[in-house]
Amino acid sequence: MAGADGDDSLYPIAVLIDELRNEDVQLRLNSIKKLSTIALALGVERTRTELLPFLTDTIYDEDEVLLALAEQLGNFTMLVGGPEYVHCLLPPLESLATVEETVVRDKAVESLRKISQEHSPVDLEVHFEPLVKRLASGDWFTSRTSACGLFSVCYPRVSSTVKAEIRQHFRTLCSDDTPMVRRAAASKLGEFAKVLELEYVKTDIIPLFTALASDEQDSVRLLAVEACVSIATLLPQEDLETLVMPTLRQAAEDKSWRVRYMVADKFSELQKAVGPEITKNDLVPAFQNLLKDCEAEVRAAAANKVKEFCENLPEDNREQIIMSHILPCVKELVSDTNQHVKSALASVIMGLSTILGKDNTIEHLLPLFLTQLKDECPEVRLNIISNLDCVNEVIGIRQLSQSLLPAIVELAEDAKWRVRLAIIEYMPLLAGQLGVEFFDEKLNTLCMAWLIDHVYAIREAATSNLTKLVEKFGAEWAQNTIVPKVLGMANDPNYLHRMTTLFCINALSEACGQEITTKQMLPVVLKMSNDQVANVRFNVAKSLQKIGPVLDSNALQTEVKPVLEKLASDSDMDVKYFAQEAIS
């Protein structure tokens, strides 16, 4: 029945609709995901008159199918005949925007927002805006929730009468009976404020903002904090004090920790939005309180912002504010009872040194770093070590190295392998900052010990760590310090350790160069081809394949090839396979 001439009635619609109605959900889902193919086969005319009505009618389906449908329809403009027909897509999307499942609804709203841009201003008023109004006054909360996300996309492009209606609808939803709708409205408040004229921001948005910020449910109040950032950005400085600050102050002291957490979490954005003057007078004390909050969750969120907050303070009296207001709180947090708080602080505290300069760092911050380096919680120590570079720039790492070493050693031997893994990853960075001498003296043994760790992930990380070290310190250093030890492991009684030798050789050969590879590594590899354990033997084959490109052709022909041929006739199937792979 297939024709080639692009005729619009190529396939009978019944056949295609049968596919969309298949009893098997999976098949139905597959068909919906290829809805564009079906629409293309039907042509724009029949897609509009037959396919879309069918889709609108059969909206009761599995949520997964509906999700796929909602997504597809957002990209359907061309398939219904371009922007002048785009409004045909509204009925099915309207139904999808009212279903219970949040994921489906959100996707429908996303698609509606997308196609709203493809509407002409006239179509927007004739077709789109009435849809928004219908959703906004729907019976069940789901449609009203969806409406909240659509106001801001149509507002800028409609006439002022319609604009007034839209504002009215938004106001109504902000004081909706159900908290679900109020949450949706609160979360879109900032976005909506951005498209409003400034006078309406003051007369409409501010009262809504104030009301939502003192809602009976904390889940609504905390969303108002997010909106606060956008609203404060929109208003001129002189209005902030009267219109926004009372609400923000109240939020920072809200009785629910969730709201205070939100303030702490958004603190940097809030700080930028309200500007330096208000920051100095209001936000500094508020921030101090959050750092001292009775809920650990809030303290941790605030601790995370310490560096950013200090960085963004007005420069003229930044140092004074930090030294007299922030630092005392930070000092207390260093010995907080909650490890998440300490670890949040440890991840940013080093950044303060660049802001405060050398002398202050040595006098005030260094003792804190040292305390945190000795913290009982490994995550705290790790966070300090991972940010050493900031301090290095200001005071040099030597100041710390005496305390650093025991901390590193302890982390290197931590019982949790993820902690060991994390410290290995900082080794190349540390090596660069501490220098080759210090490294050889203190850290080299650790790096070698990791090679025989009982967790494979650690051995693997240790191997790639060696490669990075060689890249940093050069081939000569490798030849003197690492290679002999690595090759020595080839005689270890544990076959896993012998394999580690091979893995190291794989990783190091390129960085070490042809000379070392041919003269020192190759003989060891070749010797291991006689190992009793098959795993070692086939890894020999793999290694030879890997280091082949580094070797000269002479060695390849005279030494490597015979060994591989021997392995190719090994009694073990896997050894044979990998030897053959290597030969070819």
């Binding site: 297939a2 889940s219 920790w257 969750e297 010995s335």
Partner: protein, 514 residues
Amino acid sequence: MEGEDQGSPIFIRFDSIVKGTDGPGEPRGDERGLGVEGLQAPSTPAASRLVQCNEPDAPVAELHDLFCKKLQQCCVLFDFLDCVADLKGKEIKRAALNELVESVATSRGVLIEPLYPEAIKMISVNIFRTLPPSENPEFDPEEDEPTLEASWPHLQLVYEFFLRFLESPDFQPSMAKRYIDQKFVLQLLELFDSEDPREREYLKTILHRVYGKLLGLRAYIRKQINNIFLRFIYETEHFNGVAELLEILGSIINGFALPLKAEHKQFLVRVLIPLHTAKSLSIFHAQLAYCVVQFMEKDATVTEYIIRGLLKYWPKTCTQKEVMFLGEIEEILDVIEPSQFIRIQEPLFKQIAACISSPHFQVAERALYFWNNEYILSLIEENCQVILPLVFATLYRVSKEHWNQTIVSLIYNVLKTFMEMNSKLFDDLTASYKVEKQKEMKRERERTDLWRGLEEYQERRMQMLTEAARNQRNLQERGERGDPLNPSSPQTAQSDQPEPKPSGASTGAGESAT
């Protein structure tokens, strides 16, 4: 550390409060002893006198005054995170609460109107608080130990007092409703998220009493429970008190008047059924299934909504939940009306067939157990003509393929039952099994062909569209530059005409390709 700083203004020393209640001019004894003694000395005779308060000469006013003062004293909060802080004060408050519980439970005539606001205030101050963040963010109620409420020694007594207060024969709903209002109930409902099961147990009983006694709040309570559930289902997936709230609802549903109001049906379809999608279903499934069955027993016409709803939300990957769903289906079938059964048998038995062919033997086993239920078996027998063709192919295939011997023998039993029910139909189906299989394969081939054709067609259309777009673009460019048409980047594509660069093709065709 900062608990100390904040502590001092909030946690006023208890004995200083007690001192404050003494008349200003009265002589004070030993500074230390006064608090304890001052509180207890008058209370002991009071409690004994309360019992006999129907004596005409009992100084009732004095008792009320004392009761009221104690309520006010119990509004002082203590820091229980610091377990050694202010031990003496804590002990005094505990004793006072005990006395309040005792007197509200055993004596008549204590609850006079002026005490209602004081009692509700004391309860509010003590129980309403923002619940702390869970110490374990991935708290799994099935696996982990809950974090218990530190202030329980006091909190329990406050709850106990509240409960006795509500249950007291003197309790007057008409007076209470002024103080136990919507805002109060909303805060009470939020506490159901407490991780402490002891607290939720008290809340359950208390809310039930409130629902029972304060008729004006009923609709509001139902609406707020709806909101909590909807938020749980669609927003947070976290709320500790779902099981407790469902338990209350179970008895509320039991009391619904017939015919069911639209509001109640909506609650069933839009809240109770979607609750089945929750990840933590196992924690409250028993209570949920009870509610669902209650609805059916009230009004059989909701059966179809329920079954179709469950089928819509049938678990796709979680076999543990699938077993729970099957259990609930059996509970439903146990009480289903035959006329309703006929309406849903087709989709239902398709799902049961799918369960029987599950590679997880517990799912298959649970489904096959339906045939051991006599009532269900009788329903199946009555509708054998419809049901057998739905499940036959699955039974036949799985009996030959399943890895688990128990399942295989269960299936043989089921097949045997069917054979005895209707041997003619059984033989027909056996005979046509292979033909049906072949028909199915043919349909499958047709589908593949159809899609291949469609996709080839799409490819051709896309090419045409890209070409059209390119031509238009070239025309435009030519117009702008005044150049003659000159294909600038010939490509090796199948078409004999050069195609535009990928970036130029996006105008129309790129959209529909996604």
